[in-house]
Each structure stands twice: as structure tokens, then as C-alpha cells.
């Protein structure tokens, strides 16, 4: 009888330690899942039809071949009555990464697309009700861009610097409405409808 009670006690203890391990595992999994949402780098980009300057953050994943950025841009006041703020969601793809030295690497192709939206009431996502149905089919607020470019990355000393690496990139892009203008017009040259931009990426994680 005593032996039987002892046996049960041990089993219970084993069960509870197993429970604890399972619980810890679950918590770790839960934390690591949320940790994936922590932005891994910051980016700053000049021009590119999404603002004079755009600042943002993002995530790199799948062996660093993919990057997704969220950027906020500023369009200063030129002809308009006021300056404007834009937001960009950008998807990048880097098929190759070529190490040039211990610290320097080169990505010969960066490509992808971005969607830019204007925060301004003078621009609409869908035409306002005052127009006859189908009068203007396009959105003035949301633009879709495609781009291609290149990138250099310099590894930084992690003991000295808060950042793991710094990258310099440049891109050529164009947007939906520019391309529609190009259709049927030989006189429009790439320099007319292409947009050059460049920027820096600072890798934190």
C-alpha cells in the first residue's frame, strides 16, 4: 500500500514537470512568434515618386531574399496649397548576394513593387459620387510602382555599433499612370517616365 502511494506520488511529480516543460515551450513559441513582428531594420529613401524623403522600417526573411518595408514620406509644398504625407508598402526581392570582401557584399539586382497612398482629402481612392458612373476609372490617391536597382552592404562592428550593417541602394522606378501615358507615344523616353531614387538601410536585428 505504502509502495503504491509512493509510486503515484512520483508519477504526479513527473507529470507536473512535464507540464511545466510544455508550458515553457509554449511560451517560448508564443514569444518567438511575436518577436518575428519586431521590425529588423530602418530605411530612408530619397525620391522615387513616393515623397521627397521617406522613412520607415521593415522585415527581411527567407534567407534575406525578401524584404517588406513600411515607409512614411513627405511631399513638400510646391504648386499645391500644402505639403502632403504619403505611406508606402514596399515589397523587395534580392535574388543574389555576392560577397566582395569580408565586410562588403553586393546585390546585383533588387526588384519589386510598392503601393503608395496620399493622405490628402483632395485625392480620392474611388471617384466621388458627384461624377457620373465610371467617369474617372482611376484612383488619384493610390499609385502602384515597379522598380529595379542594386545594393551594396557593409558589415559593421557589432561591438562598436548599434547596427549590424549599413546598405546603400539605388533604384529606377515607374508607376501605373506614367506607363499608361507611355503607351502609343514614341516621343516619351525612359528619362521622362522613369524615376531615380536612392537610400540607406540600417540593419538592427
Amino acid at each position: 500500500m505504502t509502495l503504491f502511494l509512493l509510486l503515484i506520488g512520483t508519477l504526479q511529480a513527473q507529470e507536473s514537470s512535464e507540464d511545466e516543460a510544455r508550458y515553457t515551450k509554449r511560451v517560448e513559441k508564443y514569444i518567438s512568434r511575436w518577436e518575428k513582428l519586431i521590425p529588423r531594420y530602418s530605411k530612408i529613401q530619397y525620391a522615387g515618386s513616393m515623397g521627397l524623403i521617406s522613412l520607415g522600417t521593415g522585415w527581411n526573411y527567407y534567407r534575406n531574399h525578401w524584404e517588406t518595408d513600411v515607409l512614411l514620406g513627405l511631399v513638400p509644398r510646391y504648386s499645391d496649397r500644402h505639403a502632403m504625407v504619403t505611406m508606402t508598402l514596399k515589397q523587395n526581392y534580392y535574388p543574389w548576394n555576392i560577397p566582395l570582401s569580408d565586410k562588403l557584399s553586393f546585390e546585383p539586382l533588387a526588384c519589386g513593387f510598392y503601393i503608395n497612398t496620399l493622405f490628402d482629402r483632395d485625392f480620392w481612392g474611388r471617384q466621388p459620387d458627384k461624377y457620373p458612373k465610371g467617369y474617372y476609372w482611376f484612383s488619384t490617391r493610390i499609385r502602384t510602382h515597379i522598380f529595379a536597382g542594386e545594393r551594396f552592404t557593409l558589415k559593421l562592428n557589432e561591438n562598436k555599433s548599434w547596427h549590424k550593417s549599413i546598405s546603400f541602394f539605388y533604384e529606377l522606378s515607374t508607376c501605373d499612370l506614367y506607363l499608361i501615358n507611355k503607351i502609343g507615344n514614341k516621343s516619351l523616353k525612359p528619362k521622362d517616365y522613369m524615376s531615380l531614387s536612392f537610400g540607406l538601410k540600417l540593419q538592427i536585428l
Partner: protein, 268 residues
């Protein structure tokens, strides 16, 4: 080495200014043209002052037709001695984007004959109206060629709310009451004519009554409908002449004689 090359790279890239674009609607003009109407009106008035016969071209709706507009400019420049000025009936752009304005104005600036430009409904989209104001000037304007006053109006009412008067009767009143400039005949030009989807059709009859107050209203001009039109819209003898879009490769040439006028549709 990389750190040394970086500033150099930046300099090269910055100098590639043509390719720098902040936003399709940034309104940052990279061409030097400003106040085109204000600059060209004195040229038109001086060139026609001592002439008996005035010849001018009505064309318009050049949006997304840069090649055809180029051909039009070359065609007109070949016969520049027989034409005094050109009226562009509006719609330089399809989407109201700054670059579209610049592409169009770049081509039109190659004209050897002075031109004036009206505002079209597409030119107002986004912040296009503000770009128009910088490039062309006021949306309502007038000029006098010999003895004929050309009253040019923004009639794209649906693009605005009621805080912005379209057509602007205040402007029309000022023009009617202005006695500082001598003229004996009038032509009214607009992008969208009465009855069109853009016009404030609630007031179209009042509009017609009002513009008929001008001294000897001869006829009206419009663009917008992308087809040739010659219609007595109000059965009052005032013909509205509408030009087709430039993609159809034609325009209307008007000849004003001291007591009459003729017109001709010319293909190019």
C-alpha cells in the same frame, strides 16, 4: 574605399536631376515656363493689331497624345506666316499629373506662334488646377485680337464645389463692364460647352443670356467632346464650334475678316 566613393556617387546621382521625381502630384515644376497666357497675350495683341484679317487655330484635348501633338506643332510651324495665334481648348493631361503638364507644355513651347491655353476638366484632377495656375495663369482670362475680344472661361463645374464659381459670373461681369479696352466683337471660348457633363447645366440658359450681352457675340468655342461639332445650341444663331481631340489629327482654322468670319477643318 567604399566610404570615400559614397559622396562621389551621391553627387553623380544628385546631378541626374531629370530622373528625380518626388511624387506624381508633387507640383514641383522642372521646366521654366510660367504664366504662359500672360506672356503670349501681348504677342497676340501686337501681332493682330494692324491686320485686317485674323487667322487662329482651335485645337485641344492633347492628353496622352504626345506624338500627335508633336506632329501638330511641326505642321503649324511650317505655315506659321499664315496663322496669328492658337487656342488650346484644355486637357493637356489625362490624370492631372505634373509630368503630363510638363510633357505637353514642353511640346507646345516649340510652337513658333503664340498660344493661349484654357483649363480642361482632366487638368483639375488631384492638384492639377494649382499646377495650371502656375504654368498658364488665371483660369479665366481675356485678350483682344484686333477688334475681337476673346473671353476664355473655366466651365468644368463638376470638378468643384459651390465655393468655387464655375463659370465665374463675377469675372464675366468685370469683362462686360470693362470699358478701358476697345473692341467691337466677342468670341467666348471654354473647355466644356453648355449641356455637356461638365457644365453647370442648371444655369446654361442664364449663361447664354449673359454672354450675349457682350458686343456682337460672333460664336463660341469649345473642346472636351473629342469630336468636331458645329451646333446652334440655343437656337439663337450663336454657333458653338467644338474641335476634336488632337489624336484625330485635325483642328479648326478660323479666319476673321472685318465684317465676317469663315472656318475650315484641316487634317495634318
Amino acid at each position: 574605399m567604399f566610404k570615400q566613393a559614397l559622396p562621389l556617387c551621391l553627387c553623380i546621382l544628385l546631378s541626374a536631376c531629370d530622373l528625380i521625381d518626388y511624387h506624381p502630384y508633387d507640383g514641383r515644376l522642372t521646366i521654366s515656363e510660367r504664366n504662359i497666357n500672360e506672356q503670349n497675350i501681348p504677342l497676340i495683341e501686337a501681332a493682330t493689331k494692324d491686320k485686317d484679317t485674323i487667322r487662329f487655330v482651335l485645337m485641344g484635348d492633347t492628353q496622352r497624345s504626345y506624338d500627335e501633338t508633336n506632329d501638330f506643332v511641326k505642321h503649324i510651324n511650317r505655315k506659321k506666316d499664315s496663322i496669328d495665334f492658337i487656342i488650346h481648348g484644355g486637357d493637356y493631361t489625362e490624370f492631372g499629373m505634373k509630368k503630363e503638364y510638363e510633357w505637353a507644355v514642353d511640346i507646345l513651347s516649340k510652337l513658333d506662334i503664340p498660344y493661349v491655353g484654357l483649363i480642361g476638366n482632366h487638368d483639375i484632377i488631384g492638384n492639377g488646377d494649382q499646377v495650371y495656375e502656375k504654368l498658364f495663369g488665371n483660369e479665366n482670362f481675356s485678350f483682344i485680337a484686333r477688334d475681337v475680344k476673346f473671353v476664355c472661361l473655366n466651365t468644368n463645374a463638376i470638378e468643384y464645389d459651390y465655393s468655387h464659381p464655375v463659370p465665374d459670373f463675377g469675372f464675366l461681369k468685370e469683362e462686360l463692364e470693362d470699358s478701358t479696352r476697345q473692341y467691337s466683337r466677342t468670341v467666348v471660348a471654354m473647355h466644356a460647352r453648355p449641356g455637356s457633363d461638365q457644365f453647370d447645366n442648371n444655369i446654361k440658359d442664364v449663361f447664354q443670356l449673359y454672354i450675349r450681352q457682350f458686343p456682337s457675340l460672333m460664336f463660341c468655342l469649345n473642346a472636351h467632346n473629342h469630336q468636331l461639332q458645329m451646333d446652334d445650341l440655343f437656337d439663337d444663331g450663336i454657333i458653338y464650334y467644338g474641335c476634336s481631340n488632337i489624336a484625330k489629327r485635325n483642328y479648326i482654322l478660323f479666319t476673321l475678316t472685318p465684317d465676317s468670319y469663315t472656318y475650315e477643318v484641316i487634317d495634318f
